[in-house]
Amino acid sequence: MTGNFDKPLTERMHSDGSVVDLQAYEQAGGYQAIRKVLRTGMTPMEVTEEVKNSNLRGRGGAGFQTGLKWSFVPRGKDIPNPTYLIVNADEMEPGTFKDRLLMERDPHQLIEGAMVAGFAIEADIGYIFLRGEYTLAAERLARAIAEAYEHHYLGENVFGSGYSLELHLHISGGRYICGDETGLLNALEGKRANPRSKPPFPPSVGLFGKPTVVNNVETICCVPHIINRGAEWFKGLGRTRDGGTKLFGASGKVKRPGLWELPMGTTVREILEEYAGGMRDGVKFRGLLPGGASTDFLVEEHLDLPMDFSSLDKAGSRMGTGTMIVLDDQTCPVGMTWNLTHFFAQESCGFCTPCWSGLGWAERILKSMEEGHGQPGDLDKLAFQTKMWAPGHTYCALAPGAAEPVQSALKYFHDDFERHISEHRCPWR
């Protein structure tokens, strides 16, 4: 299914799944953004302004204004040295596989994005922090980085401009919490990957205590196109206020699970019905998590909402990573919630009490419910725990994220939970 709109992120990708190499990338207009920046004498602040004007918001899930984040980096002569750019490629959100596509299929787009972003924040050193299980991406990124070094696109004095960027690929040891912006920094420093306290924020105190920007893969991949074609063009790609295109995905019992680059603000229904082909025959739609496991369930009444950062907030959910997990009527919502809570409990770093303690408790309650041992009062305990995990109550965003599927499942599938308790069994088993 193809729409009549620009797809800057995916348009160069080969349909056979092979990688776009340096030559192919350049032939398709690649490495023009960095050339433009360096040859037309754009200043770092001008690049930052352009990205700010494009209204590019972080594609990792939180949706923070990218240009604004860059503007927090201290600049000038007397700043701590070096400055780091980190590409967060630790894609571990359940149901999410968008960054994987970008890295496996068009790694030079990411490298060029990192170069432009690095220039904008005056970075000296860049790291791509990659999820350990992404072995194909690791292989293809490593080769692409080597190609870029061979052609002197990376390293000292890029295009004779005086700008230098050292870019490294770091493969994570593998925990969900390493994908947290500051957990990542600790992991990269070789420390226990507990998140850090904020403030101080990474732009002032980041990797090894130096100014650091951490951006998601998809965010970085948007950057060269903004430079090439302008902030206004980028804003115009979206159907709503949040500009650009977005990689949307769907998994679950839909006809065509997959990933599509679509205008920001495409409705949930379009993605579910037109692109994913609707539910498989014989199963009915019950709800979906719009953007990975740590977003609230949406149900039938929400399907006509546009997928963007602001619209879903109003419905009490979040766009998150934009890759939906679809729940059908043949799958137990309690079992699904248990599965997700098990994941979050397992991935808690063990630092703050509501998270390490509460998630483990909630996981056990859901498991016992699913196994037919649910007790009256369990739902109150679960509801109480989700309040303990509210933003600000915990140290980082893991537990607030974990609260979202649980609190919304309790809201939309309350009867199913009650049946588990009253019937002393899972009705789906």
Binding site: I177, R196, S197, P199, V205, G350, P354, W356, T394
Partner: protein
């Protein structure tokens, strides 16, 4: 200061601090776990949640962690808001999910911060119905017990052990609700300050293993404020007793001295008090005798005349003074070995002329450049090493301040600071345990340590004498530059090198850099003994050899540890009468005609002068049910009725010691007519122990010497700092009750900290530069310069009688750098003291011609160092 509204009432709080600090300082019962005044905030436990409001119109507010929120001007918070009360209850419920129901058999029970906080929060009903997680515990050595099932994952242990104390072998492993705090495998905790885990841990994960062997609840112990006897720093302690045996030592907070922490030798060395070998009655010619007979013998012998007294650096000022008064000033000898006495005299002379007061340990923490000459602090004055470890954070802290990160925000500060460290230079004959944080280390023979010091002074001030033929001016220049650039430079030296030039070099550097100067002595009252008696041991030996004396009274001093055995032997056999007062049998008591059972710190009152020059009082913890008595009680004339009389006589005789009387309130001190109770309030059947014999309670022993009572009866109020036997206040049963004794958390105790400094700074620096610079050290063919190597566990005489410390003591050895020997090889060390067979340790950093010999270990006692000697492969 900032005005902060708590539940709509204004309170003044320190604007440089967080809300938890402010609320606790104001006396609010706001529960917390992960925060500690010495460790700062990290926001792990989420227990100290409060509601914060934008302004007075904000009705909703939001929950914030008090420890992570600055106490900013006009901040409005609520502790009592129902939503935040429920949140805190939810946190404690979460913390208690896996906590065992073992309070009745847990060592922490009754003084557990987790118990206190649970009661404070109001969690009293268990809703969790699943299995608790369990762990396998580790054997962490003889001092600290490990019981991981009790853990609430507050991270305090690793933050203290790693970040504060510099330990590496304790860590957080695994994740989620199964974080394990321990070592990578069973084994003795390597850090010399591991015992503080017992107080840092808010519950019973880390407990005092020595207490476990003779366990008693806090509320059943009788305590008294005490001073550590195991080095010269004078850390303040509280010691607990029951049934005539000492059960444990806990930290007694003194803002200026030890703060919240002790070293392991100080915490666990106390068991010598309970030794089976103790003298518990007088022994006359090998036979136990009565107190009356002992006194009669003492009087008769003294009446015959010609008596000399040998004092002791490990006996109190009062005991030394009582002996001096008994034998006469001219017949009194300080008991210090000659070289040590000379060094201490030199140190005192410098300190008396110094324009700056010797820094306290707290002030040392605040110094921003430190130069150590010839000392391995961790093994000699351990608590000072911990203070110096904090000082290296001062200079990087300036960067943190520029970034506007609040200094209490511990992780923020550490993320910004990373591995940056301020200047710390260590010059010593061999490696020290602070090398890991040192900017640079330099290993040299004592004379060369001194030469580098003199060169640094010259680099700082060209009028200070130059060092002829000195060829390492780069390092000297670097050290001089660091000291010059610092706001609070500090020079540390002491007697470890047994070299006068080292001490003089330190004085030159301090003068040239206008730096604070800290001298380390070896024993708990070395400075005090030197103030009371000038004449060293050899003069006493001479007096006996010359036939001047026929009776020698030796006070708490094993002379065989201080002088060549042959010299001691000849003196003791030449003296017809030898009277010894001591705690434990040793070679000197073996030679005594009469041994009097001298009270240890636990059975005595008295005063020690620390190497800072601070006079500090310790109080009797219990009345022994035997003949043991403070040495000064054995020796005092009848006209001195009590401790205050001794102090009065002493200050009349020694104007410099007049201030010693101010070290603690006198015996007549009362609070609203009441004494200060040594025992916590009645909380158990303690007083019913004897009712099967007699229902009327026995009268508690009188204490004429202090304002403390041997009882739970007395004032309910908080006593002055010098009289605090234990920290307790309503709702605060753990040692964290100390919060309620401070005006501001982490600050001085209410009414001022204990102890008085004896040496007031001189108006001007009257100390001219020392100009006698020793020539460079030249190795001698066939002979080695033997220098002392101190061991935190082993070199101290008394703590070595504590089983846990003895277990950790290294075997005596000699450290060299020579290809003639291999690690572990058996050698014969021959010097004036005799021949000793020892294993060799290879220390590549030791300069050629120098060998370091274990100091103070029993089999090597009596080797007077430094000395020249031969080292040969054992045949």
């Amino acid at each position: 200061m900032a005005t902060v509204f708590v539940d709509d009432r204004p309170y003044e709080m320190n604007a440089e601090q967080n809300l938890l600090h402010g609320c606790l300082s104001q006396g609010f019962k706001l529960p917390y776990f992960c925060w500690h005044p010495a460790l700062g905030s990290v926001g792990a436990c989420r227990q100290c949640a409060v509601k914060q409001y934008k302004d007075e119109h904000d009705a909703h507010g939001r929950i914030v962690m008090a420890c992570m929120t600055p106490a900013s001007e006009g901040a409005r918070i609520s502790i009592a808001d129902p939503e935040v009360v429920a949140f805190r209850a939810g946190i404690i419920e979460g913390l208690m999910l896996n906590h065992p129901h073992d309070c009745p058999v847990c060592d922490e029970g009754g003084e557990c911060h987790l118990q206190d906080m649970t009661v404070m929060t109001g969690h009293d009903y268990r809703r969790y119905e699943f299995d608790k997680r369990t762990f396998r515990n580790q054997n962490l050595g003889p001092l600290v017990n490990h019981e991981m099932n009790r853990c609430i994952q507050c991270y305090r242990c690793v933050r203290y052990y790693r970040d504060y104390a510099g330990g590496e072998d304790l860590n957080a492993f695994a994740s989620r609700d199964r974080v394990f705090f321990g070592r990578h495998e069973d084994g003795v905790l390597e850090n010399e300050f591991s015992g503080n885990l017992v107080e840092i841990c808010p519950t019973g994960v880390f407990t005092d293993k020595t207490l476990k062997h003779h366990y008693v609840r806090k509320w059943d112990q009788q305590f008294a404020p005490s001073i550590c006897v195991h080095c010269a720093l004078g850390c303040n302690t509280d010691a607990g007793e029951r049934y005539g045996s000492l059960r444990r030592i806990v930290n007694r907070y003194n803002h200026e001295v030890n703060g919240y922490f002790l070293c392991d030798r100080g915490r666990f060395g106390y068991e010598f008090v309970n030794s089976d070998k103790r003298f518990r009655q007088p022994v006359l010619r090998g036979q136990p005798t009565s107190v009356a007979a002992a006194h009669r013998y003492l009087e008769e012998t003294i009446a015959k005349g010609r008596v000399i007294g040998i004092g002791s650096p490990r006996a109190s000022l009062e005991s030394n003074f009582a002996l001096r008064s008994l034998v006469g000033a001219d017949q009194f000898y300080s008991g210090l070995a000659d070289q040590e006495a000379k060094l201490i005299r030199q140190m005192l002379e410098i300190l008396r002329r110094s324009p700056v007061r010797t820094p306290t340990l707290r002030e040392i923490e605040e110094c921003d450049a430190v130069f150590i000459l010839g000392e391995d602090l961790t093994n000699v004055a351990p608590r000072m090493a911990l203070a110096v470890r904090q000082s290296v954070r001062q200079q990087p802290m300036e960067t943190v301040k520029k970034l506007k990160i609040p200094l209490w925000l511990d992780f923020g500060v550490r993320d910004a600071m990373q591995d940056a460290k301020g200047p710390l230079y260590i010059v010593a004959p061999y490696r020290t345990r602070l090398d890991d944080v040192a900017t640079a280390t330099f290993h040299a023979a004592p004379d060369d340590v001194a030469r580098l010091g003199f060169a640094v002074a010259h680099a700082l001030d060209s009028t200070a004498p130059a060092v002829a033929g000195f060829d390492d001016s780069t390092l000297a220049g670097e050290i001089a530059g660091a000291l010059k650039a610092a706001k609070k430079p500090l020079v540390i030296s002491g007697t470890s090198c047994a070299n006068e030039a080292v001490i003089r070099a330190a004085a030159n550097v301090a003068k040239a850099a206008n730096a604070a100067l800290s001298f380390i002595a070896l024993e708990c009252n070395t400075v005090g003994a030197a103030l009371i008696g000038e004449s060293p041991l050899s003069a006493a030996f001479q007096a006996v050899r010359d036939g001047y004396a026929d009776t020698v009274i030796i006070l708490e001093n094993d002379l065989y540890r201080r002088a060549l055995h042959a010299e001691v032997d000849s003196m003791l056999s030449a003296a017809p009468h030898v009277i010894v007062l001591d705690h434990l049998p040793n070679r000197t008591t073996e030679k005594a005609e009469l041994v009097l059972p001298a009270g240890t710190f636990a059975e005595s009152d008295g005063t020690f002068v620390s190497s800072e020059g601070r006079a500090q009082r310790f109080f009797q913890i219990f009345t022994p049910q035997n003949d043991v008595s403070a040495s000064w009680c054995w020796l005092k004339p009848d006209r001195w009725r009590d401790l205050d009389d001794v102090l009065a006589a002493m200050s009349a005789e020694f104007p410099e010691l007049a201030a010693v009387r101010e070290a603690a309130p006198s015996a007549s001190f009362r609070i609203a007519g009441a004494k200060v109770p040594r025992s916590p309030h009645r909380e158990s059947g303690r007083t019913a122990v004897l009712v099967n014999i007699n229902v009327s309670e026995p009268k508690p022993p009188e204490d004429p010497d202090s304002p403390l009572s041997f009882s739970m009866e007395g004032t309910p109020d908080q006593p002055p700092a010098a009289l605090i036997p234990f920290f307790w206040s309503p709702s605060w049963n753990s040692i964290q009750a100390v919060n309620t004794y401070q005006k501001e958390i982490g600050g001085p105790l209410r009414g001022g900290d204990a102890g008085v400094p004896l040496f007031e700074p001189a108006a001007l620096n009257g100390q001219p530069y020392f100009s006698a610079i020793p020539p460079a050290f030249r190795p001698r063919g066939g002979e080695w310069l033997l220098v002392p190597m101190y061991h935190i566990f082993g070199s101290d005489e008394l703590s070595l009688a504590a089983p846990g410390i003895a277990q950790l003591s290294p075997k005596p050895h000699v450290a060299v750098n020579s290809s003639d020997f291999a690690e572990g090889m058996e050698v014969e060390v021959t010097c004036a003291a005799g021949m000793f067979r020892l294993p060799v340790r290879i220390y590549p950093e030791i300069p050629p011609g120098v060998a370091a010999l274990s100091a103070g270990l029993p089999s090597l006692a009596g080797i007077v160092l430094p000395a020249w000697g031969k080292i040969e492969r054992a045949r």
